[in-house]
Symmetry: C2
């Protein structure tokens, strides 16, 4: 299998919407995010990418994607040759199966985001995104004492959740003042796990 390696600095665009690429990329280290810019100039962050995440499952089949990818921190990523990867996946039913699971997990994540944006308040959206990221980081062993490295700026939260940076700021203040969680200097601390779960799960 032909594999290429690459690195990205914070803010660097790792892939630009619509560009053809022979490789299927996967994050090895650091954080990145998928996003799109609308005709009116607004940015929507579609998802955050953590170590081990494919840029997109659809990249396994097509050579261009409908979104861009930007690094959030220093990032190491690698690209698998598409044809080699396809052979690898479809040669072994067990691997096909694993890949299929990844696809349906992605579908579920997208649908969850749609539900968040369509039905939930700013507080709930923020709570749920934090919970989701914490769970994903926990699986990677990157959560200690309800505390973890969190490189998103308020503007990233805003663009992921369909809010403005100013409003995100106010919600974070409320959460901080009610001693539920605190985000500062790129570190997120959860003080009241049950409160944030309650916030995230129900009205």
């Amino acid at each position: 299998m032909r594999v290429s390696q690459a690195n990205g600095r914070p803010r660097q665009v790792l892939y630009r919407k619509g560009q053809p690429c022979a490789d299927v990329s996967i994050v090895r280290n650091g954080w990145a995010f998928r996003f799109a810019i609308t005709a009116s100039g607004r940015r929507q962050i579609l998802s955050f990418l953590l170590p081990g995440d494919l840029f997109s499952t659809s990249a396994v089949f097509g050579d261009r994607m409908h979104f861009s990818v930007q690094a959030l921190t220093d990032v190491a990523y690698c690209g698998f040759n598409r044809e080699d990867l396809q052979r690898l996946i479809f040669a072994d039913p067990k691997v096909s199966r694993t890949f299929a699971d990844v696809c349906s997990e992605q579908e579920a994540f997208s649908d969850d985001r749609i539900i968040d944006l369509g039905t939930r308040s700013a507080e709930e959206r923020i709570g749920r995104l934090i919970i989701e990221l914490m769970a994903r980081l926990d699986r990677r062993g990157q959560v200690h004492d309800n505390m973890f490295h969190f490189p998103l700026k308020q503007q990233h939260l805003a663009d992921a959740l369909g809010l403005t940076q100013v409003h995100v700021n106010r919600v974070l203040r409320r959460l901080r003042e009610s001693r539920i969680m605190e985000l500062s200097n790129g570190v997120l601390k959860i003080f009241n796990t049950s409160a944030i779960r309650k916030l995230a799960d129900m009205r």
Copy 2:
């Protein structure tokens, strides 16, 4: 290939979230939609299903899905045996490829919906949903003279677009009064195609 047939009446739930099913369902006739109900009781419509649409690509691999499906009109649908279908898809690279394309198209649709909900106004969301559905119906030859059967109630538009039925009503009134389009008696007529495209594409 083992295939089963079934029909559904309007409002009938065709699949309930989390239920195991041995079949992979596909709509043959009529309209349906995928949806979820949040803990607070709000409904989010995730997508509309037209003739030829799979309930979900993830159903090809897993035996339970994370959403429910409800009929909007009289619906005919059929279920393919999962194992048979998997063999059919993965036996022929050409079929695998087609299936993969369907998967990435789904991904693109989901991301578009996220962008709509995250960045656009009520008017834009409604305009874009109409345009999307019109394009999909057009491919099926169901649009004549910028006019087509449209079984969605205002409540469905609201639940798909993260709005209230009351607000959808007001937006539709504005669109009607400005002679852009009209929705009544289950028929949608577009009077001003360029206006609605402008509405849908840009700020």
